[in-house]
C-alpha cells in the first residue's frame, strides 16, 4: 500500500529497478495488454490496493515504448488493439482529434492499424492523439482525494474529533478490501452528523476538488453500486439516522435516509402502522439506499413498491442544491419549517414528479437525504402457510386460487424450488428451531417418490395479512381445503403461531446465504412472464449442461412469483472463485433466454457496476440517449458514482 500522498506517486518514474520505498509499502505497477485486461483485473485487483501510473521508459515486458506519465483511468492503457470495443473508441477519438486539430490528415476510421505501427494512426501523430485522449476522457479530470481534501472535509463535518473520516492517507485506515471488480483504496467519510447539503456545496464550489463520490447506505446491494471503482470518496449516510415522526392520520413516516430498515419497522409497528417495504437485508440496509435502488421485497405485490409508497424526498444535487420534493422542509434538529407549498401529502399533481427519477437512480444524480413514506395500518392477523406442489402448472393454479379465495388479504407469495431448499438444508439453516424438521418434512413430502421425481417439486410460501383473525382463519381454511381436495398441492404446512411463522420466513430468507455458502454463485435477478417462470429455468439448465457441464452447475430458482420476478442463481458447488469465462457463458445464456421471452435483465437488484454494459447492449438507443441527457442535466461533471449505472459510452463526460 502506498503511504505517499497522491501527487508524488503520480510522478514516479520507473526505470529498471523500482524506487526504494519503505519496507512496508508495495508498489504495484500494472501494464496490461487490453485483450488480457479482464483476466488480469480479476486476478490482481483483489490484492492490489492501488493501480498506479505508467512508466516513461521502455519496458521489455511489453515491447511498448513510452506512455503518458500520469494516471489514466481503469488501470490499463490505451492505445487499443484491434477488437470491436476499442475500434469504436478509436473511432470516437479520431473524430475528436480531427475536429480539434486542423493539421490532421485523414479521419478515416476504418483503417486497421497494426500493433507495431503505432507512430501514426489514422494519420494522427501519436503525441497529439494521446493529448486528445487525455482531454476528452474526463476521467482524467476526476482525481482522487489527497491530504488537503481531508483537512478541508474535516473542517466542514460537524464531528470535530476527526472521527468522521477514515482514510489511508492519514495512516489510520481500517481495512481496505478490494472492491467488487475494481481496485482502489477506499476513503470513507462517515458519521455525517451535519447535513449533506453542507458537505456538497463546498466540494462543488472548490473546483480544485472534483472527484468521484459514491453515496453509500447499508452496502447490501448485490450489483456493486456502493463500491467505488477506483478512488472515489465514499459518502456514508449512516450517521443521519433520525426519524422525524409518523403522522397519525395520513400514516406518512418521515425520516433521514440513514435509518436502518428494521428500526423503521419497529418504530411504525409501535404506533400501529406497517412499514410497506420488507427485504431480507433489513437488519443492515438503510432506507436511503432502498429508495435509491428501488428495492422490491416481499410486499411489492401488495403495496406497490417504493414508487407507490414514497410520498416525498429531500435530495441533494451534485452541485449542492437541495431539492425538497413534496416534502416538509425539516431542519436537522427536527423542527419543521413550513414554507410556501412544500408539505408531505399523498397527492400533489403540480408539475413533473421529480421524485420518481431519484427512486432507482442508484446515486448517480443526487444523494437522497430524507424520505417520507406512506405506511398502511398494521394488520392484526397474520397467517402463513408453506405449500408443496408437484409441477409449475399446480403453482399457477395455487396463485389463481389465492387471488380468488384469499383475495385482499394475500400479502406475499414466495416461490422456491427443490434445488434451493436442498442447499438450504445442507448449508445454511443456522437456526436450531423447527427449521430443519420442517425442511425435512417439506422435502420428503411423499416418501414413496423417487428422488428424481422429487426434484421437480416446487414450494410456495403464502402469507396473508388482515384485520380480523377469525375471518382470515376461515379464508385460509377454505383456501387450503380447496387446494388439497383438488389435488393441486401435495402437502401443506400451516403456521399456528408467530414462532412457526418466523421459522417459515427464515427458510425463505436463508435461500440467499445458503446458496452462497455452497460455492461460487452467479446471480441473476430477472423479470419474466409468470407462465414461463420454470420453463426458462429448465432451458437455462439444459443449455448449461451442454456447455459448462464440467463445473456441475446447479440452477436454483426462487423469487416473488406474483411479480414474475425470478432470482436465478447458478451455483458451482465446491468452487469459490469466480471464473470469468464461465461467468460470461452463463450470463449470455441467461440473458438470452430472458430476452427471448421479452423479460427484464434486472428486476429489482438494479444495475450498479455489474450490469451497466449489458444495459447498453440491450436497451433501445433512444432511451439510452435520453437517460444520458438526464444524467448530464443533474450531474454535469459526472462526479456521482462514475462508471456505474449507465454504460460507459453514455457517461456524458466521455467525449463532449
Amino acid at each position: 500500500r502506498l503511504r505517499h500522498p497522491y501527487r508524488s506517486a503520480a510522478s514516479f518514474s520507473v526505470s529498471g529497478a523500482p524506487p526504494s520505498l519503505g519496507p512496508t509499502s508495495e508498489l504495484l505497477i500494472i501494464f496490461m495488454l487490453p485483450s488480457a485486461t479482464r483476466s488480469f483485473q480479476r486476478v490482481l485487483f483483489p490484492r492490489a490496493s492501488e493501480v498506479v501510473v505508467a512508466s516513461r521508459t521502455r519496458t521489455p515486458l511489453m515491447g511498448r515504448d513510452r506512455f503518458v506519465g500520469h494516471r489514466i483511468g481503469w488501470g490499463w492503457i490505451l492505445p487499443p488493439v484491434d477488437d470491436h470495443r476499442s475500434r469504436r473508441r478509436r473511432r470516437q477519438l479520431s473524430v475528436i482529434a480531427s475536429s480539434s486539430s486542423s493539421s490532421s490528415s485523414s479521419s478515416s476510421s476504418s483503417s486497421r492499424p497494426s500493433f507495431e505501427n503505432n507512430k501514426e494512426r489514422d494519420g494522427i501523430p501519436r503525441d497529439h492523439r494521446r493529448r486528445c485522449i487525455r482531454e476528452c476522457t474526463s476521467r482524467a479530470e476526476l482525481r482522487g482525494p489527497n491530504l488537503n481534501d481531508v483537512i478541508h472535509f474535516r473542517s466542514i463535518l460537524s464531528r470535530r474529533d476527526g472521527g468522521g473520516i477514515i482514510t489511508s492517507l492519514l495512516e489510520n485506515d481500517s481495512d481496505s478490501r478490494g472492491a467488487r471488480g475494481g481496485g482502489g483504496t477506499r476513503r470513507v467519510q462517515r458519521g455525517l452528523d451535519g447535513t449533506v447539503s453542507r458537505f456538497i456545496p463546498p466540494r462543488a464550489e472548490t473546483r480544485e476538488y472534483r472527484g468521484g463520490v459514491v453515496p453509500r447506505g447499508g452496502n447490501t446491494g448485490l450489483c456493486g453500486g456502493a463500491t467505488p471503482l477506483r478512488d472515489e470518496i465514499v459518502l456514508s449516510l449512516e450517521g443521519m439516522n433520525n426519524i422525524y415522526g409518523l403522522d397519525e392520520h395520513s400514516g406518512i413516516l418521515t425520516c433521514d435516509s440513514g435509518v436502518i430498515l428494521e428500526n423503521l419497522h419497529a418504530y411504525s409497528n409501535e404506533r400501529g402502522y406497517l412499514f410497506p417495504l420488507d427485504i431480507g437485508a433489513k437488519g443492515t440496509c438503510q432506507i436511503g439506499g432502498n429508495v435509491s435502488t428501488n428495492a422490491g421485497g416481499q410486499y411489492f405485490f401488495r403495496f406497490g413498491g417504493l414508487h407507490g409508497t414514497v410520498m416525498g424526498l429531500e435530495v441533494v444535487l451534485p452541485d449542492g442544491r437541495v431539492l425538497h420534493l413534496n416534502m416538509d422542509n425539516v431542519d436537522d434538529d427536527g423542527t419543521v419549517q413550513r414554507t410556501k407549498r412544500i408539505s408531505t401529502h399523498r397527492k400533489d399533481n403540480t408539475g413533473y414528479d421529480l421524485k420518481h427519477i431519484f427512486i432507482g437512480a442508484e446515486g448517480t444524480i443526487g444523494v437522497v437525504t430524507k424520505v417520507a413514506i406512506a405506511c398502511p395500518a398494521l394488520p392484526t392477523s397474520k397467517n402463513a402457510t408453506l405449500l408443496v406442489c408437484d409441477s409449475y402448472c399446480d403453482v399457477l393454479k395455487v396463485m389463481a386460487t389465492a387471488k380468488v379465495e384469499l383475495g385482499e388479504i394475500l400479502s406475499a407469495m414466495e416461490f422456491m424450488d427443490h434445488n434451493t431448499l436442498k442447499l438450504v438444508q445442507a448449508h445454511g439453516f443456522g437456526g436450531n428451531g423447527d427449521g430443519p424438521r420442517l425442511l425435512r418434512d417439506m422435502l420428503q413430502s411423499d416418501p414413496s417418490k423417487q428422488e428424481s421425481d422429487r426434484s421437480r417439486q416446487l414450494y410456495l410460501l403464502v402469507e396473508t395479512q388482515g384485520s380480523n383473525s377469525a375471518d382470515d382463519a376461515s379464508k385460509m381454511d377454505n383456501f387450503l381445503a380447496h387446494l388439497y381436495d383438488s389435488g393441486t398441492i401435495r402437502n401443506g404446512f400451516l403456521a399456528q403461531d408467530s414462532r412457526q411463522m418466523t421459522e417459515m420466513w427464515r427458510i425463505r430468507e436463508s435461500c440467499n446465504p445458503s446458496v452462497s455458502r455452497a460455492g461460487c454463485v452467479y446471480k441473476f435477478d430477472v423479470s419474466v412472464p409468470i407462465e414461463d417462470y420454470m420453463t426458462i429455468a429448465r432451458e437455462v439448465e439444459g443449455r448449461l449442461f451442454a456447455s459448462v457441464k464440467h463445473v456441475d452447475p446447479i440452477v436454483c430458482v426462487w423469487g416473488h412469483v406474483n411479480d414474475g420476478n425470478a432470482h436465478i442463481n447458478i451455483v458451482t458447488p465446491g468452487r469459490f472463485e469466480t471464473e470469468s469465462a464461465i461467468e460470461e457463458t452463463i450470463e449470455t445464456i441467461v440473458f438470452d433466454e430472458v430476452l427471448k421471452h421479452s423479460g427484464s435483465i434486472s428486476a429489482e437488484h438494479g444495475i450498479g457496476q455489474k450490469k451497466n454494459e449489458a444495459l447498453g447492449r440491450l436497451k433501445d438507443e433512444n432511451i439510452m440517449v435520453i437517460m444520458a441527457q438526464i444524467k448530464a442535466l443533474f450531474d454535469p461533471h459526472g462526479i456521482m458514482n462514475p462508471g456505474k449505472y449507465l454504460p460507459k459510452k453514455y457517461q456524458h463526460n466521455m467525449c463532449k
Partner: protein, 272 residues
C-alpha cells in the same frame, strides 16, 4: 392408554401486550390481538402424541380447553397435531376473558371433574405454566385435588411397559429423575420448554381434524353435572389489584472515547 391434555388459549407470545384503559387498572388489551395456544401446552400435546406413537397398545389423546367459544380453534390445532378428540367447556365472554377471571383453583377443580367424568385416564400432561398468568399452579393443584402422583418441569418422559412413567425434571440445582409407579390414579406431569419441539400440523392432518369430534359443554352445565357450586369454582381466586406497563427503558448515551466516559461518570457522581 388415555392421555388428557388441558390446553389454554392465550395472547400470542410475540405480541407486545398493552394495558387496556377501558378495563380500569386491571386489564390487558385483548380485542384485535392475535391469540394462539400456550407454547407449553403445545409441548404437552406434542409429548402426548409422541407417547401415543411410541406405545404398542392403542392410545387416545383427549384435549380439553376451558374458555370462550374461540377456544374451538385452539382445539382444532391440537386435533390437527394429532389429538383424537376434544372437550370444550365454554364460558361466557366475561368469564375467562383472561387470566384474571378464571384462576388455577377453579381450573383445577373443573379438570378434576373432567378426569373423573372421563374415567380411565392414565396420564394428564399439562404445560408447566401459561404465558399470561405465569402461575404454574394448575398442574400441582390438580394433583393435590386428585391425590395423584405428580412430576413437574419434565424435560424427558418415558413410559414403562408396566404403565409407570420415568420423568427427568429440571431444577435449579440440576436434573432429577423420578419414577411414577402405576396406580389407578392418573399421573400428572407438567412439561418444560426443552421437552420437545412441537410439530407443524400438515395438510392431511388438518383435513382429518375437521372430522374429529369436539364436545362442547357450557360451564354452567358442566358444573351442574359435576355437582359443584359455580360460585365456589369462580370465586376462589387472587384479586388482581393493578396491571401496569413497566416504565420505559431509558436510552443509553453514546460516548466517543474513554475520556468522555470518565467525564460523564464523574458528572453523575458515580465515580469519584
Amino acid at each position: 392408554m388415555k392421555i388428557l391434555v388441558p390446553i389454554k388459549r392465550v395472547i400470542d407470545y410475540a405480541i407486545k401486550i398493552r394495558v387496556d384503559p377501558t378495563k380500569g387498572a386491571r386489564g390487558v388489551q385483548l380485542s384485535n390481538v392475535k391469540m394462539s395456544m400456550n407454547p407449553f401446552c403445545e409441548i404437552a400435546i406434542e409429548e402426548a402424541i409422541r407417547l401415543k406413537e411410541k406405545t404398542k397398545t392403542s392410545a387416545e389423546v383427549v384435549a380439553v380447553s376451558i374458555g370462550p367459544k374461540q377456544c374451538t380453534e385452539t382445539l382444532r390445532t391440537a386435533l390437527a397435531m394429532g389429538a383424537d378428540r376434544g372437550i370444550h367447556i365454554e364460558t361466557k365472554a366475561d368469564v375467562r376473558g383472561d387470566y384474571v377471571d378464571m384462576q388455577p383453583w377453579g381450573i383445577a377443580t373443573l379438570l378434576k371433574g373432567v378426569v373423573e367424568r372421563e374415567g380411565g385416564v392414565d396420564l394428564v400432561l399439562l404445560g408447566k405454566q401459561s404465558i399470561d398468568s405465569d402461575c404454574g399452579q394448575t398442574g400441582t393443584l390438580l394433583a393435590g385435588l386428585l391425590n395423584a402422583p405428580q412430576a413437574t418441569f419434565a424435560s424427558k418422559v418415558d413410559r414403562g411397559d408396566d404403565g409407570s412413567f420415568t420423568v427427568e425434571r429440571e431444577t435449579d440445582s440440576g436434573t432429577e429423575v423420578i419414577k411414577i409407579k402405576p396406580t389407578t390414579l392418573p399421573a400428572i406431569i407438567t412439561c418444560d420448554l426443552r421437552l420437545n419441539t412441537p410439530r407443524y400440523p400438515t395438510m392431511p392432518n388438518i383435513m382429518k381434524a375437521k372430522k374429529k369430534p369436539v364436545e362442547t359443554i357450557s360451564l354452567e352445565a358442566m358444573v351442574q353435572e359435576l355437582g359443584l357450586n359455580l360460585d365456589e369454582v369462580l370465586s376462589r381466586k387472587n384479586e388482581v389489584v393493578e396491571v401496569y406497563e413497566p416504565p420505559p427503558r431509558k436510552e443509553g448515551e453514546m460516548v466517543g472515547d474513554v475520556m468522555e466516559l470518565l467525564a460523564k461518570l464523574k458528572e453523575k457522581g458515580l465515580v469519584a
